[in-house]
């Protein structure tokens, strides 16, 4: 037996089998033991309604007269961002549109209906150019019986979308007195408005006036897209029967049970049970605790699908006394469905007469439960996520073991083919070669499922039809692998049987003009993606600061903001920006184009860096392509900030570092490294986070080191440090603006801390919506491979990425991925290089024992595996989300409100805003900054007043102050937004909305107008203190 064959006999074979079984088990467990029912496709007919012409925001209301006291009512809404009000109370909501980085269904008011109840803790700001999740794909049900009343009722919906296409589909029903009234979702029943105008002095969400002056909503046609419900719709759409079960109390307990049949109708079928009990209770399915609750007047709904897939189960409900203040009569109301079979509170339920330790299994004396009529009061339904734990692991372990057994059997069976290829391992190598391909496909599919866990695409993975497709793909790969194997073994060959050692890649560089032309084409694509619709977004908060600072440079020669603050951050960038806007104008689109240039240049530099690190042009081209279409890169390249410039210099520095210190001793590169590093620091001081990585890599690879030979390194290092210190000193000038009070949030964001040891790591390695998940999996999984191969260039990239993220974790107080933006090309290079290495390493080792012609098997394996991994890499880019984002606004659009004010402002008008940033750029300053609760660097003290540091608005923080302003002005424009509104007390908000009229609704906020001649007045309580108190 040769050395080449030995590994197949070792523990590695077992490890391979277990790992392969685990991958299949992970896929299968989603099918066999999903923790809840698969989403249902909504079959009933519904219509979209909206407003014409299309808009980002709209408000809808419907007035319903109820001639009876509602016992039961539900409403189902399919739309994007919304708040549903019933008689003025917020009954349901899903507000996500102002932050596209939020996980799918993460802001649902009923999280139990979301498919993604757990999300990884990470900073979530929209850093990526990706469209918002399509939340409208799921219809969310709400029980509104508690909010409705006999007589006139008002249903109101506040809607918002990131693109101007607001629409909603509504279904519902109100039941009472044996009568059922549907909640009409047609356009005729709903009135719509672009602004939430008051109706005869009352708020639009409460006004019962039918003739409200609003327009009729527009019909947008039937819903043709497949809407889904993530929990069985029957949980809400069926009224709870007015029959309760009761029985004798035994030692403080009343116990009910019945056997529920198995779910036999396939994965689309579901089983559920609703329980409303007067005493606390536990719900047990078989021997598994499925839930516990119990408060009079509430109903809990349980999805039991996963319990009943394996066969019939005995469902036991135990009502128990707490010994405190329990109602006298133990009664449980319940109903449910198993597939198409209805479960009713009838004599099929038994109650325990004599206790027995084995009562869960049917032990003891049972008799039919007594039925008692119940009063028709409302019992709101809440969905519960089943609580069972632990025992589910046994099922998973069983599936894993079964998969292992299956793979072992298949392995034996395929081993028979080994003889055909004169396989010296007795067929094991052949079996491995064949099996590895479906395993790779299954692994890729599972990784993609995890990758898209936080996006609406997860619905496609949860679709039961998808299960069959995955299985078919695996089978197809298996058949293809067998066929290819058989063809290859029968084909004649003259190639040598012995193959050389595996080589991960050649380091020899060569120039190739054609490839560079290809990179040029990719850069043009990158330019197009960065430049297209570059003005679609309003100026983002920080963009205003930089643009205003640059305008300050043109105005005064120094980066003065309109407010008077000297913005000393990144002097180089702001002076360059000043020159740019002097030449090309200061419109947002023109100013953003300055960031496009380093954004496109980074594509070139990434190509060169990747080529240097991997020695392969095709990998370098792929890296350049990934950077060109990367949503993070595109977003930062369209931003009037210094991050893109910092990344450009940082990647240049890394390139020269590899050339000068790691792969060679090229002195000009060493000097250029220090120059580029210094420029990167000057662009953004946070580049210092990479210094430990450079130091460690230099320590490891700059060997041997002699001072006299490397005096330029010492001089360069000292120079870079001096530049860094000077830059930090200049930056701190910013802090010379006087504090108005000391709070933790005014402290430097760079200081040692261990406040949250996982947030930065998650934020960078997973990113928003798991966008970097697959890349990070390969990044970490391949680390042992690259260490073993001692690939100095790739290992340097590892060192830079890991140490920088760790440094950010313990040094940067504010968790934001943009601070380590410079690392993105590095992780992309390692990802692509690792995918390539994985394919070739596996192909080599799997084919080596196939003695007849290993090279041919190797090539065939690579040819089959490459498309699988290529599909995974392409899918990982989420190009669909990128393309859809070009028609969307991803941030709040305050600038449009300021432009509206600029167009409609009259002399003497006062501007008050919670978000003054764009006011500086559009209006050249605002009058008042409205904020009740202050954050870190919002205000500073002048000799005359406390003003905001962007537009110089005087701080207004009390109702009294607002009232004073309004009493002296003829008109006042007030800008409010969703994010800042949360910092105001209800009193304050009631005052502001009470005295003003909405004039413009924009994504994330609204523009209000106070007019003296309206004569509106709202009372507010005296909150104490004098007006000027702080």
């Amino acid at each position: 037996m040769t050395a080449a064959v030995r590994p197949l006999r070792s523990w590695r074979l077992l490890g391979f089998g277990l790992a392969a079984a685990f991958i299949f088990a992970c896929n299968l467990m989603n099918v066999l033991t999903p923790y809840r029912a698969a989403p249902e496709i909504i079959a009933d007919r519904a219509d979209w309604i909206g407003i014409s012409p299309p808009s980002n925001r709209a408000f809808f209301r419907q007035v319903i007269d109820l001639p009876f006291t509602p016992r039961y009512a539900w409403i189902a809404v399919a739309t994007d961002d919304y708040v549903l009000y019933v008689n003025g109370q917020a009954a349901a909501q899903n507000q996500f549109a102002i932050n596209a980085a939020l996980s799918f269904q993460h802001r649902l008011s009923d999280r139990a209906q979301g498919v993604n109840p757990y999300v990884v803790p990470a900073a979530r700001a929209p850093d990526l150019r990706l469209a918002t999740n399509r939340e409208w794909r799921v219809r969310i049900h709400s029980d509104i019986s508690k909010q409705l009343r006999r007589g006139r009722n008002v249903l109101a919906l506040s809607l918002q979308t990131a693109d101007p296409s607001v629409r909603v589909s509504i279904k519902g029903e109100i039941v009472g007195d044996g009568v059922s009234i549907p909640i009409d979702g047609s356009a005729e029943s709903w009135h719509a408005s672009r602004t939430p105008d008051r109706i005869r002095g009352q708020s639009w969400i409460v006004s019962p006036v039918r003739a409200d002056g609003w327009r009729q909503a527009s019909s947008l046609g039937p819903v043709e897209e497949p809407l889904q419900a993530t929990a069985p719709a029957g949980l809400w759409t069926r009224p709870l029967p007015l029959t309760g079960l009761t029985g004798p109390e035994i030692a403080g307990d009343v116990r009910f049970a019945r056997v529920l049949p198995a779910l036999t109708g396939g994965p689309t079928q579901s089983a559920w049970l609703r329980v409303s009990s007067t005493w606390p209770y536990t719900l047990t399915v078989g021997n598994t605790l499925a839930g516990a609750a119990g408060k009079t007047g509430k109903t809990e709904a349980y999805d039991l699908s996963r319990f009943l897939r394996n066969g019939p189960q005995r469902v036991s409900i135990r009502l128990y006394r707490t010994g405190l203040t329990d109602p006298a009569m133990p009664v449980v109301m319940l109903d449910g469905a198993v597939g198409s079979l209805d479960i009713a509170p009838d004599s099929s339920w038994n109650v325990l007469r004599r206790d027995d330790p084995g009562w869960l299994d049917g032990g003891g004396l049972w008799e039919s439960a007594s039925m008692v009529p119940m009063s028709p009061g409302t019992r709101p339904i809440t969905l519960q996520i089943p609580t069972s734990k632990g025992w589910w692991a046994a099922e998973q372990a069983f599936v894993w073991a079964a998969c292992f057994a299956g793979i072992a059997l298949l392995f034996r069976a395929l081993g028979g083919l080994g003889g055909l290829a004169r396989d010296r391992t007795g067929g094991r190598a052949a079996a491995l070669w064949i099996l590895s391909l479906p395993i790779l496909a299954a692994g890729a599919a599972y990784l993609l499922r995890l990758r898209f866990k936080e996006t609406d695409l997860i619905l496609d993975f949860l679709n039961p039809a998808q299960y069959g497709r995955s299985l078919a793909l695996d089978l197809a790969m298996l058949v293809l692998a067998i066929a290819v194997y058989l063809v290859l073994t029968r084909a004649p060959s003259s190639a040598p049987a012995v193959v050389p050692r595996f080589r991960p890649g050649s380091a020899a560089l060569s120039s190739d003009a054609k490839v560079r032309l290809l990179v040029l084409a990719i850069s043009l694509l990158g330019f197009a993606l960065r430049g297209y619709h570059i003005g679609i977004e309003n100026l983002q908060a920080d963009e205003n600061v930089s643009l205003d600072a640059a305008r300050g440079v043109l105005r005064t020669g120094a980066p003065y903001e309109i407010s008077g603050v000297l913005y000393t951050r990144s002097a180089m960038y702001h002076y360059m920006l000043a020159g740019w806007i002097y030449l090309f104008g200061s419109s947002p689109a023109a100013a953003r184009m300055m960031s496009v240039i380093p954004g496109v240049a980074v594509i070139f530099v990434t190509y060169e860096l990747a080529y240097l690190a991997t020695g392969k042009r095709h990998l370098a081209v792929i890296c350049a392509l990934v950077i060109a279409v990367s949503p993070w890169q595109i977003n930062q390249s369209r931003n009037i900030r210094f991050y893109q410039q910092m990344q450009f210099f940082g990647i240049c520095a890394s390139y020269f570092f590899l050339r000068g210190f790691v792969l060679g001793r090229h002195k000009p590169s060493q000097n250029l490294f220090f120059a580029m590093g210094s420029l990167a620091v000057v662009c953004q001081e946070i580049f210092v986070l990479t210094f430990p990585g450079f130091c460690i890599a230099g320590y490891l690879y700059l060997r041997p080191y002699r001072l006299r030979d490397n005096i330029n390194v010492v001089i360069g290092f000292i120079t870079m440090m001096v530049v860094t210190v000077l830059d930090a000193g200049t930056f701190t000038l910013l802090c010379l603006t006087r504090n108005i009070g000391i709070t933790t949030s005014i402290a430097s964001i760079i200081q040692f801390h261990v406040i949250n040891p996982t947030a930065f790591i998650n934020t960078f390695f997973l990113s928003e919506l798991h966008a970097r998940f697959i890349g990070s999996v390969f990044f970490f999984a391949a680390l042992p491979f690259w260490i073993r191969r001692s690939n100095a260039a790739i290992l340097t990239l590892y060192i830079l990425v890991i140490t920088s993220v760790l440094a950010a974790t313990v040094l940067v107080m504010q968790v934001a991925a943009r601070y380590v933006f410079v690392l993105n090309p590095m992780i992309v290079i390692v990802f692509i290089a690792s995918v390539d290495a994985l394919i070739r390493w596996m192909a080599f080792h799997l084919s080596r024992p196939l003695a007849a012609n290993p090279r041919r098997f190797q090539r065939a394996w690579i040819a089959m595996a490459t498309p699988i991994l290529a599909i995974m890499v392409i899918a990982d880019l989420h190009l669909d989300g990128l393309m859809r984002s070009y028609d969307q606004h991803l941030i709040m659009q305050h600038e449009s409100a300021y432009r509206y004010i600029a167009e409609h402002r009259r002399p003497g008008d006062v501007v008050i805003s919670v978000s003054p940033m764009s006011g500086a750029v559009v209006l050249g300053g605002i009058d008042y900054y409205l904020e009740q609760e202050l954050q870190f660097d919002e205000v500073y003290m002048t000799p005359f007043a406390i003003v905001d540091r962007w537009a110089g608005g005087k701080l207004v923080s009390k109702i009294d102050q607002v009232r004073d302003i309004l009493s002296t002005a003829s008109r006042a424009w007030i800008i409010m937004d969703q994010a800042e509104s949360k910092k105001f007390t209800p009193d304050f908000l009631a005052y502001l909305y009470g005295v003003t009229q909405p004039r413009l609704e924009f994504l994330g906020g609204e523009l209000l107008l106070w007019t003296a001649s309206d004569g509106t007045y709202v009372q507010s309580k005296d909150s104490g203190g004098s007006i000027d108190d702080f």
């Binding site: 990884v120 080191y705 709070t743 933790t744 005014i746 406040i755 202050l934 104490g1024």
Partner: protein, 462 residues
């Protein structure tokens, strides 16, 4: 001239010497420095839960204590550093043999918080009180400072909204589930290992120096020109296996305890209370510190309550836990007092009582009964002198009573307790200076008032 020539030769010789050495020696020297700092700096020092009291002046009389295992480890790391130094000077090639003891020490250092959970739950509880209550007091001060509607002298009040976890906030005792294996469960896993935010921020610098020293030492060993790479490749598969094994091993008792907890839950759902009680006792055996969790005691109490056992302290703990759930802290305090009368030495009793009193004090304060609130805060401090929230409560009571000097003294106690945290927040210090400034102003010392106010506005000087 000779001495001058010699002096000039020193840098040249130093240069020649430095160039002759393997650069890994510098890394190893740096690691020794870190280890020396680690041995010198305290690792885990807190006010002793037993000996810290309220002094005759009514202020904190702190007696510090260090977790014994931390002392042992820090001495061990110091000794390890000394051995490294000796070998570096005498026989540098032999340093490679120390890499496995180094990894072992690193594993032990990382496992220290877990050991503390196991053997010193009192200190864990003390950590939690200091960390979470300094944090809460600080956030409260900050909230009031940021809220422009309020004047801190007149209207500072407690934010009633913090997430209510106090009764069960013994870290690491979250319900275990399979979500913990996923990314969303990472914080729970860290908690289970004892590596909580509380631990991270209370652990002294010595702990961080120790780990840094051990890691830099390994960098030096594996980075050596002679044999470093060979050792690295040889150890590479074993290092993660060993570290994971250490963690897996320390989690075994926890896993067994969790298993019993789940069996107990099932027994409760079946109505088999006797079995449930047995299983809950088994949980306490495998996870001794769980006895400090009110929620755990309440699980037992739910059974004793059903059985009508009025002489069982757990019955009252169950009632207290129920009262906490509906934020009826005075009700909780009353139930806890009954439990304390039956079992005064029960682990955790003084913490529960202290917490109930301080929360009751906050409620009463927010209704405007300042003197009554102060009484509750004093009661809380009688049980847990290191409760920063109670000190803060006393301080703002004095603000309302316009006794700025006393307010400053009590705020200073919060500042003293904050000194045990690794990361400082500004507000306690700021409020201390501000109160001192107002105190000076009230007694007519305007110079001092100005000085304190200027200090207050200049955190760089603190």
């Amino acid at each position: 001239m000779t001495w001058a020539r010699r002096l000039l030769l020193v840098p040249a010789r130093a240069l020649a010497w430095s160039e002759a050495r393997d650069r890994s020696d510098y890394a190893i020297l740096a690691s020794v420095l870190f280890m020396a700092l680690s041995a010198y700096r305290a690792w885990y020092v807190l006010p002793s839960p037993y000996d810290t009291t309220i002094g005759l002046d009514g202020l904190l009389s702190i007696v510090e204590t260090e977790f014994p295992a931390a002392t042992v480890l820090r001495v061990g790391i110091g000794a390890f550093g000394a051995v490294i130094l000796l070998l570096l000077l005498a026989k540098a090639q032999a340093l490679a043999k120390l890499r496995w003891p180094g990894w072992l020490l690193l594993g032990a250092t990382l496992a220290l918080p877990f050991a503390m959970q196991l053997w010193s739950p009192n200190l864990v509880r003390e950590t939690q009180v200091i960390y979470s209550h300094v944090d809460r007091a600080s956030n409260d001060i900050e909230f009031n400072l940021k809220n422009q509607q309020r004047d801190w002298r007149d209207l500072q009040r407690f934010d009633p909204s913090p997430v209510l976890r106090w009764a069960t906030d013994l870290s690491g005792y979250t319900d275990w589930s399979f979500e913990m294996l996923g990314l969303a469960g990472q914080v729970d896993v860290l908690d289970a290992l004892g590596l909580t935010n509380g631990y991270f921020n209370v652990a002294g610098r010595g702990w961080y120096f120790g780990m840094s020293g051990l890691l830099v030492f390994q960098l030096g060993v594996y980075g050596r020109l002679t044999g470093g790479r060979r050792y690295l490749l040889r150890d590479l598969p074993l290092i993660p296996v060993c570290l994971v094994s250490v963690f897996a091993l320390i989690l075994v008792p926890r896993a067994i305890g969790e298993y019993h907890s789940q069996v107990a839950g099932r027994a409760i759902s079946k109505g088999d209370d006797t079995h449930a009680l047995e299983e809950l006792r088994a949980v306490r055996f495998w996870i001794p510190s769980i006895a400090y969790s009110l929620a755990f005691q309440a699980e037992i109490g739910a059974i004793t309550q059903r059985r009508g056992c009025m002489s069982c302290p757990e019955t009252y703990l169950y009632r207290a836990n129920n009262a906490v759930a509906v934020r009826d802290y005075q009700g909780a305090a009353r139930a806890l007092e009954k439990a304390a009368a039956l079992a005064p030495e029960m682990p955790g009793m003084r913490y529960w009582l202290g917490q109930a009193y301080v929360e009751s004090g906050i409620d009463i304060f927010n209704t405007g009964q300042y003197t009554a609130a102060d009484r509750f805060f004093r009661r809380a401090l009688a049980y847990v002198p290191s409760d920063a929230l109670a000190w803060y409560g006393r301080a703002i009571v004095q603000l309302r009573l316009r006794d700025f000097a006393a307010a400053a003294e009590y705020t200073h106690q919060v500042v003293r307790l904050q000194n045990y945290l690794g990361f400082k927040k500004y507000p306690p210090h700021a409020q201390w200076l501000l109160a001192r400034s107002w105190s000076a102003y009230r007694r007519g010392d305007f110079v001092e008032a100005h000085r304190y106010f200027s200090e207050y506005l200049t955190p760089e000087l603190w």
